[in-house]
Amino acid sequence: MTGYAMTGNPYLFAAYAVTWIIHIAYISTIVSRYVRLKREIADLKKPGVKS
């Protein structure tokens, strides 16, 4: 049933796929912001670097 449910119904596949695409996209933004912030913190720790 599982394979049939997902492949046999494009609407069902689309709804599940869209849900995970949105979640993954949002998590990616959190990760990229975190990486940028870590870089900023490393710059702040360097002596004499003006922000």
């Binding site: 049933m1 069902l12 709804a15 849900t19 912030l37």
Partner: protein, 230 residues
């Protein structure tokens, strides 16, 4: 706390996988709609999760307005942001489900329209947070959040008060549901709630760190290279 997060992450991943199995394999196929009804197991838990996050946003906003607690302000911001993500999923999966069942992508009935208005209110909240600068921003955002939260019960009960195309609620709607369907629904809700909690936790840590970095930048701008106040 750093060790707890990966453990909870793995547990949530297992729970989400189990919930997917429940939704696609264990839950019986609905007689009239067929397999497309399985969208229900993502659509409804996403809506419930969004509503809970908007209520937490409301509570945190009230706490901020009373006590001016910065942690409450961060909780409010984080819950609104993650709530908007879940509400977006509701607004996209709903039309995908409606198209094969109703024959239309969208109708301006009370449930759909009020959900769209709710989404717009919280998107406005996030825009206010993002593009407004100044000390009054958290207070204005908290006031908007309090008003926005009033919309949540209206969205939920709109299908009781108005004649709509949207079906009656699963909980308290007077209808009956197959126990295996109910089990799949509740497992998916639990899984998405755990997932939302972890995302909120990560976002909270990020926001806290961002504010610390902003403070460090502000402090550094006040000091000359030798460390003295300009």
């Amino acid at each position: 706390m750093k060790k707890v997060f990966p453990i909870l992450g793995v547990l949530t991943a297992f729970l989400l996988s189990y919930a997917l199995y429940q939704a696609l394999v264990v839950a019986p196929t609905e007689k009239t709609m067929g397999d497309v009804q399985r969208i229900f197991y993502y659509h409804v838990p996403s809506a419930w999760t969004a509503f809970i996050l908007f209520f937490i946003n409301f509570g945190a906003s009230v706490v901020y307005l009373i006590k001016r607690n910065p942690a409450a302000d961060i909780v409010a911001l984080v819950c609104a942001e993650v709530g908007v993500v879940f509400c977006t999923i509701v607004l996209i999966t709903g039309p995908i489900w409606a198209r094969p069942v109703w024959g239309i992508w969208w109708t301006w009935d009370m449930r759909l329209t009020s959900t769209l208005v709710l989404w717009l209110i919280y998107v406005s909240y996030l825009f206010l947070r993002r593009f407004s600068s100044g000390g009054q921003t958290p207070t204005l955002a908290a006031a908007l959040a309090v008003l926005g939260a009033l919309c949540v019960p209206f969205v939920y009960f709109s299908i009781w008060f108005f004649r709509t195309q949207h079906p009656q609620p699963v909980m308290g709607g007077g209808g009956s549901i197959d126990p295996r369907m109910l089990h799949a629904l509740l497992i998916n809700w639990l899984a998405f709630s755990c997932f939302a909690f972890l995302v909120c936790w990560s976002r909270y840590r990020l926001e806290k760190l961002q504010r610390e970095v902003d403070e460090a930048h502000a402090l550094r701008s006040l000091l000359d290279p030798s460390g003295r106040v300009r």
